[in-house]
Amino acid sequence: MSMALKHSGSGRFMPAFSQQNVVRGLLLLFVSALVLGPVLILIRASVSPAGVMPLETNRVSLEHFQNLLTSGSTWRLIVNTLQYALVSMSIGVGIATILAWLTERTDIPGRFVVRVLMFSWMAVPALVVGFGWILLLNPGNGLLNVLYRELTGMRGYLLPLYSFWTLSIITSFAVVPTAYVMISGLLRNMDPQLENAARVHGGSGTTVIRKVTLPLLVPGLFSVGIYMFMAVVQTFDLPLIIGVTARYPVLSTRVYLLSSPENGLPNYGFAAAFGVLLLVIASGLMWAYLRTVSAGEKYRVVTGKAFRPRRIELGWWKPVAIAFVIIYCLVMALPLLMLLWVSLNTSFVLPSYDALPGLTLDVYRRLLANPVILRASGNTVILVTASATIVMVTSLLIGWFTTRTGSRLGKALDALSFAPMAIPPIVLVLAIVLIYLRTPVYGTIWVIVIAHSTVFLAFGVRSMSSALIQVHSELPNAAIVSGASWLTSLRKVTLPLIWPQFLNGWLWVFAHSARDLTAPLMLLSTTNVVAASGLWNMWQFPDLPGAAALSVMLMGSLLLVVLPFQIYAARRLET
């Protein structure tokens, strides 16, 4: 027997699953530092005395909370925030439900295109869309207002841009893609047998929808609603670019303005007190969300079988449905087209036939020669690839521990990694400012990487856990019994099996890291400018053509990366 297997030498015994224990310990340290550290620092800062830089004193004082609770504007802020979130969420989830039902359950043509557009739209920065809408709707020379005045001969404007309603409607458009993805998932997992049963027993088309489809969907829709409500409460970019001018302050913009005032010193302690308030509201919503999700489990209609639901024939409603989808897509495209137009002129010109010969790529040439833009591009590439990779690798490991081992440490990891879901990014970034202000990391691109790794960790762990749960535990076990180490089994068996979900999660973090303004703006220094913060600076300067061109480039490069994968994924769903 020339190649007899070499068995482990006697006397060399290893502690149980040592490789795993080491990795698990490191993960716990890493996630605690990312998540627990900021929360503790935030709470500490909020109870520091007024007029002192937090962390420079040992004294504890409730001054900030006293100010916060006695000020009438606090209640105004809370009501504003909730009202804004409720209206945006309702409109957004309403549109998303109709779109999801049309594409998943009816014979409307172009379902494939709509699905790809929706998934890809998540990569379009809300900031960019917001700028587009400002160019379209601002009271002075907004394109739609100018057209309105020319066509009707009236003064005034079509829609007041800087108002609660416009802010909410524009935000709701940002809600639609995510809500669509969640709701179409719900619809796809619903057993069509339940609907067929109602139909066989004499229910008409609308009766089935009213009496069976909707009631079955309600728990799921409710949890999607709470989730999106929470997302709007935490949102920062649109309230900043529209809400501040509209004199419609919400909690997130208040935290920002206190910590980065236009003049005067930042009041970190007071900002932290507001941060704690926002954290409490978000945690309450998170709790409500988790409650509805577990209640939804009772209604679970997932049968686990692959099935293809019968599509409802729209009949003569079809043109109406098609018109709805087309109008919606046009409304979504309008701000982007406006940005494209503005970027093709060296100075701001309203779109018209006469202006066509003046179109030029000069603005793009100017941008690409600008060292700040080049640095921003380089930084953005570092930021998005580092964040996406750190988040997904960490998530894969955490997901493995939470799905494969029932240990207490695994549960702690799961809870810790889920916590950022309830921590509004603006609050988290504020805490990161407080922690890293005096360290050399502050001001570098890496402090933004840390912020994004924390913010997007919850999503990454969710997506990896749900992917790993589908992988039969015998597949990696077979590798280990074959003699491979745990890490080899992870690398050679588990990861290749969930590769599509891993890549999808990576792209999601990639796109969201690129579109986020919160962290880059709060942590902005002279050297760590990225695309989003560069965009904001040009807009504020103001350099409208430059900002428009940068928006187009950012959006274009994001879609270039995301679109091919979404087309591939949608194809796989179709077959």
Partner: protein
């Protein structure tokens, strides 16, 4: 793709069997408790399991679901750690709670076929089989990897499918790939975790014989887990029957089937008629049991106190039927009548009643009987085994 039979040639896998009969695997007092969840009490998965497996044996862990057989196998594989006890492979302690020894699964040098086969769908057949050689911790030249993999695949008659992607295999082919992968690096012990349960009935019958022939020709020590007593009887050298984390009986297939030591074994190993009674013990005389049927003379391996509750186990094939005229005065002969007959083709299932006791018998389909006819039953004492009455069984 039809399933081709394979006939393993001994020359494919020469194994030096210098020390047949030597202990290859020794399990001593394994304990494993799973903590209760959600207010439920903790469950004892393994409650003092001990056995020894001789080198080259086909050794089966048999029992109903939840009996601890899979947990035992997982502990042997190193995928789970017992709370207490010792596991020895050859001379090496791979788990010892006292010495704190724990050799992780990837260093135990085992081969394993999983219940789902666990064929990695993202690899080809060749890559699946090559994995233990490439990542198994022992470096090997690419050329010899290829040679070894092809040899293992030829052994299961799948050499022609080496380049096929794994998802494009039938159930039987997947199982052969799993076998080739488990054997390719010549492990010390082969573990089989219910490998037949995912196959359809006909294929299961063929694979049963083929797996036994294959592992016997290789000469490898095999631990086989199953809940199917037919598989266990047809394949094993030794069977350990488990229940609720404990070993109920250990022995060869004939012993376990024909001489059960408990109601549980008798019931689990196949259909049997259980006749309750009280032990009548006289020194020097065979055991007699006082039953509703009358006095039964039975064999037993258990010591009974006089008057102890006893169950006589009578297999349906153990009973002889004689015409009524032959009388019922000889030993273990009773007057009875046929309640119902059920013609099943390969046998006739008959329900008979004697002295208020109903029994099921298997009769030859070529013999003709009629429902309601009176007969005489004869139960040869050597076909009647007395076991202790089981409180738990009585309750259920």
């Amino acid at each position: 793709m039809s399933e081709r039979r394979f006939t393993p040639r001994k020359a494919d896998f020469p194994v030096v069997r210098s020390s047949v009969g030597r202990s290859m695997l020794a399990i001593d007092s394994l304990l494993k408790t799973y903590p209760g969840r959600g207010g439920r009490a903790a469950t004892k998965a393994l409650d003092g399991v001990s056995f020894t497996v001789k080198e080259g044996d086909f050794f089966t862990l048999l029992g109903p679901s939840g009996c601890g057989k899979t947990t035992t196998l997982q502990c042997i594989a190193g995928l789970e750690a017992p709370d207490d006890g010792t596991i020895r492979m050859g001379s090496e302690v791979v788990f010892g709670s006292r010495g704190g020894a724990f050799v992780p699964a990837n260093r135990r040098g085992l081969g394993m076929v999983f219940q789902s086969y666990a064929i990695w769908p993202h690899m080809s057949v060749f890559d699946n089989v090559a994995f233990p050689l490439v990542f198994g911790g022992v470096r090997m030249a690419a050329a010899s990897v290829k040679a070894e993999v092809m040899r293992a695949l030829e052994m299961v008659q799948l050499g022609h499918l080496a380049d096929r992607p794994a998802p494009m295999l039938s159930g039987g082919q997947q199982q052969r790939v799993a076998l080739a992968r488990a054997l390719v690096r010549r492990p010390r012990i082969l573990l089989l975790d219910e490998p037949l349960s995912n196959l359809d009935a006909k294929l299961r019958d063929t694979m049963r014989a083929e797996i036994r022939a294959l592992v016997k020709s290789v000469g490898i020590t095999t631990i086989f887990v199953t809940h199917d007593q037919t598989e266990a009887i047809g394949m094993s050298d030794q069977i350990v029957l488990m229940r609720a984390g404990r070993i109920v009986q250990q022995g060869g297939p004939r012993d376990i089937y024909l001489r059960p030591n408990s109601v549980f074994t008798a019931d689990f190993m196949g259909r049997s008629n259980l006749i309750a009674g009280k032990a009548v013990v006289e020194p020097g005389a065979p055991l007699r049991i006082d039953t509703k049927l009358g006095v039964l003379v039975a064999e037993t391996d258990t010591e009974f106190a006089p008057g102890a509750s006893v169950v006589a186990v009578v297999r349906p094939q153990a009973v002889r039927i004689m015409p009524k005229a032959s009388g019922s005065n000889s030993i273990n002969s009773f007057a009875a009548w046929i309640v119902s007959l059920n013609f099943l083709g390969d046998l006739v299932e008959a329900e008979v009643e004697a002295g208020g006791v109903r029994m099921v018998l298997m009769l030859n389909p070529y013999d003709t009987y009629e429902e309601g006819s009176e007969i005489t039953l004869h139960i040869p004492p050597e076909n009647c085994v007395a076991v202790p009455a089981d409180d738990r069984e009585a309750a259920s």
